[in-house]
């Protein structure tokens, strides 16, 4: 006979059987004589009771073994729990590492892309420094050292200066006037990426205008930077400004 019941169920069944047999025996003892069962049956009942008791004891022994096994299993479960915790922690660390690495990769790719872009069109540093000098020559970057309250000069390109620049003049004469501009110039116009300064007060963006102007000068154009009555001093002040602007440009450069 194979028992597929759990040990618990077996035990409980045996206990129930014992109870029934005991009740039978006791009732038989109490019962009046004509209802009593035969002595053989009585003996059989008693034997059955004893057998059941023995079975109970053996199954209890089994239960005892199972309890021991259960204790082992509990300790194993505790160990598995520890391993689980360690695995979880490791997983968290790996995830963090992956995140950090992917961020680093992304940024590195961006840097490589910008390096490639820069390498395609290299600009010599001399030219950049010259440009910086020129745009700061008219005090459009910062006020001159001798600036006082009430001085009419402004640390940004003023209205008049903008109108005197290339953009202002080309706007006035859309159809006819042939200003000196080369095709390379217009190309450079389009390629400029300028920041719009916060202090732009007229309709022209300063940066394109200034750059236009500079390029005109670099290519030997005839349009001079006309700042009100400062043509002579601007030459002198370029030297003064150069130190100042170079410091600012070097601080700006990355």
């Amino acid at each position: 006979m194979t028992f597929h019941l759990s040990t618990k169920e077996r035990l409980l069944a045996i206990v129930d059987d014992i109870e029934i047999i005991a009740k039978e025996l006791i009732e038989n003892t109490i019962a009046p004589k004509h209802q009593k069962i035969s002595s053989t049956e009585h003996a059989q009942l008693v034997e059955l009771l004893v057998a059941k008791d023995a079975e109970l004891k053996s199954v209890l022994q089994l239960a005892c073994d199972q309890t021991k096994i259960e204790q082992k299993m509990n300790s194993l479960r505790a160990q598995v729990e520890l391993q689980d915790q360690e695995i979880n922690q490791l997983q968290k660390q790996l995830k963090e590492a992956e995140q950090v690495l992917s961020t680093a990769l992304f940024q590195a790719r961006q840097k490589l892309a910008s390096i490639a872009r820069a390498n395609k069109k290299p600009v010599p540093s001399e030219e950049l420094i010259k440009y910086a000098h020129r745009i700061s020559a008219s005090h459009a970057i910062s006020a001159p050292l001798t600036w006082q309250q009430g001085d009419l000069r402004r640390p940004y390109p003023t209205d008049i200066e903008m109108r005197l620049g290339f953009l202002g003049k080309s706007d006035l004469s859309i159809n006819g006037h042939n200003l000196q501009h080369h095709s390379s110039l217009s190309e450079m116009h389009r390629n400029t990426t300028g920041e719009v300064p916060a202090s732009a007060q007229n309709q022209f963006a300063w940066h394109p205008s200034g750059e236009l102007h500079m390029n005109v000068l670099a290519s030997g154009g005839s349009i001079l930077l006309d700042t009100r009555g400062r043509k002579n001093t601007s030459q002198v002040e370029v030297e003064v400004m150069s130190t100042e602007s170079s410091s600012s440009s070097s601080s700006d450069s990355q």
């Binding site: 035990l11 409980l12 206990v15 003892t29 022994q61 239960a63 021991k68 695995i87 490791l90």
Partner: protein
Amino acid sequence: MSGGDKKELQKVTPLTVDEIEIEILPTIYAIIRSVEKDPIDKQRESQECSVKVLELQKRLDNVRNQIRQLPIDLNKEEQLQRLETLRNQLLLKQKLLKKYKNIQF
């Protein structure tokens, strides 16, 4: 029942087999004896009998309760299988951890 050290688990309830009162037979025997012998004092005898019957009932119930508290919901084979599964699980997890913990990058 078999002696020997069995550690009790956290619960206070008797999870050890030792503590189960399975000596039911003596009680039954006592009841039958007291019924069979000639009653000297009928009243006292019947009182004693009923007391003993109640005691039998109580013992049976106790045994049942204590059995229910044992961790023996499965039969032995299933329990051993579970034990094996647990052991394998533990081994696998330990292997996994060993594999990944000491990687040098």
